[in-house]
Symmetry: C2
Subunit: 345 residues, 2 copies
């Protein structure tokens, strides 16, 4: 397998990306292709204790300047690392792309170069939120801010397959974000989406009905679908609140000497908590619905997140997530369940 890694994407690029690639190279049997300026990457690799044998370089320019429209930015910089990396899939030189660059730019690259999978009207970005036993996949979190109910059916099909094949959840429970659990709750859009999802053959995915915030965080649902506006609000509110709570804890736990001592003693417990909510543990989030595997990492990804994203991309490829999505959409989803979950590569 060959994984193209956008070496210039992310707040700590290229260093963190190169270190993450080195980390992944230790257990991965794939060819890992770092995409970025040859000279920069050569010197980054030369600085490693040992240059990994399964890491190669593909020359490209750096990322387009931020704070611009992604479309305009990419039009100006045709040899940007993210574009070159994505073209490797199109050309058949790579099986997947990993990037910690902006999601917007990733989306534009994926849509314009890879195009959509047959049967997909809207590609979507899925995010992973932690719950007590694992992860809840929220789809879409920003690619589609104005949706039709039918699009949520696609999100459910794609999310269900990703959850089964990549997150190893045998029978994902799929829920619709709403403001009450009873049927008939919600706004015009969510009521119409409920109808579409409830009509679906149970073999396509297990639709458990309307869900609310607590279902996401209590682990009573595995995949939640919503339009990209609502999903983005859920994601950003959650990130912001978690950050605020931990900041508040840090402030109060260092405010008096006794609490400070207590916090020092509880250090291991806090580490376990942070590990549970740490996005670096799962790597990145997929752009689903495009004809190629595309994993977007958090902008502030460190080496561990990059390495985990590489493994995630490998699972997407080996478990044929995209072939399954096409098959499932072709027969309104039944194939996704009839086909067995792929054994881990």
């Amino acid at each position: 397998m060959r994984i193209a890694i956008d070496a210039m994407g992310g707040d700590y690029a290229p260093r963190a990306v190169v270190l993450g690639t080195e980390l992944a190279s230790k257990t991965s049997s794939s060819e890992l292709i770092l995409v970025g300026p040859q000279d920069v990457l050569e010197s980054e690799l030369a600085a490693l204790a040992q240059r990994p044998s399964n890491v190669t370089i593909k020359n490209a320019s750096g990322i387009p300047p931020a704070h611009e429209s992604p479309v305009l930015a990419l039009r100006k910089r045709k040899d940007a690392s993210i574009l070159v990396a994505t073209r490797l899939i199109k050309e058949g030189t790579a099986d997947a792309v990993v990037s910690a660059g902006s999601t917007g730019i990733g989306m534009v690259a994926a849509r314009t170069i890879l195009r959509l999978l047959p049967g997909v009207a809207r590609p979507a970005i899925a995010a992973l939120l932690p719950n007590p036993t694992g992860m809840c996949l929220v789809i879409d979190v920003g690619a589609n801010v104005d949706c039709r109910p039918q699009h949520l059916y696609e999100f459910a099909v794609m999310g269900n397959i990703f959850a089964r094949q990549v997150l190893n959840i045998p029978s994902p429970r799929v829920g619709l974000v709403n403001i009450g659990e009873e049927e008939g709750k919600g706004n015009q859009f969510s009521r119409a989406a409920f109808e579409v999802l409830a009509e679906t053959n149970k073999a396509a995915f297990d639709f458990v009905g309307n869900i609310e915030g607590r279902d996401i965080y209590e682990g009573t649902v595995d995949v939640v679908v919503c339009d990209g506006f609502v999903g983005n609000v859920i994601l950003k509110t959650s990130e912001a609140l978690a950050t605020a709570v931990f900041a508040l804890l840090r402030r109060e736990l260092t405010a008096d000497p006794v609490s400070k001592l207590g916090a020092a003693l509880s250090k291991k417990a806090f580490k376990r908590v942070l590990k549970r909510v740490d996005y670096e543990e799962y790597g990145g989030v997929p752009i689903l619905g495009v004809d190629g595997v595309f994993i977007v990492c958090h902008g502030s990804s460190g080496p561990k997140a990059i390495a985990n994203a590489v493994f995630e991309a490998e699972r997407c490829v080996s478990h044929e997530v995209n072939r399954r999505i096409v098959a499932a959409l072709a027969d309104r989803g039944t194939a996704s369940v009839l086909a067995p979950v792929a054994a881990d590569a």
Copy 2:
């Protein structure tokens, strides 16, 4: 002033409501009218160490059974405590209502009995979320799941006045919930709402533009407006995530003896954190836009929350929140800022 208190609303009614009323009676100079079954409330009051002189009883039946449509429930039980309490405002026998019953039932009671304030097309429910320096008011959080952009203008006017008069924020910064800060971001609805809010005279309220989740929790905005679907998702996701984080902390901090000891030493710090995120500290949330002061408390409110809701209701009345809303809407908001903030009663 006379505050009607729905003695039968909430998970711990009537006990918690009666104790909260007793607590409020110690510092309040209002007449506090407990509304519920006379015999039940007489025996609750008799059980107190001393029966407060400023607490009276208004006979009514208990709350309608839950898990029903609020409209149907209230139609069946015309002498339900929440209806009787709300009618006291209509009759001029009370200046405000406090209830820990369901928000849905409160909304139906408020709309059908009190009717709307002149100039208000949609009443709204505002929630308060904690930030590092105080509170952020989110409006609407569920009364209006399908909005027109113009409704968000009303929410901004009402939220601005409540924040100034009741939360004591001299110049509230009003933001629009969106999925990016730049103008032009968002879905069709949020872009149209941005236009309406941005056109508003700066004297009506200080519109600071689009905001995201982090603005709510970092304290860079005081009032955020959104449709009730999005607001409800923000509120429920936040509650669920906060609960999940504290549950995770509790689990990990008791998982090994050293952490447990550390947690015991840090007890004071945790108490300060919990106090900061405790809804009991601020009491309740207002239903704004109806012709009467109506404060809804959390269903699991204890005595402290009930007492704080009584004080909140008193501030709404003494600071003439409703008169200011009518005036502000009549001249598209300019009156709300020209009129001075009321001195505390």
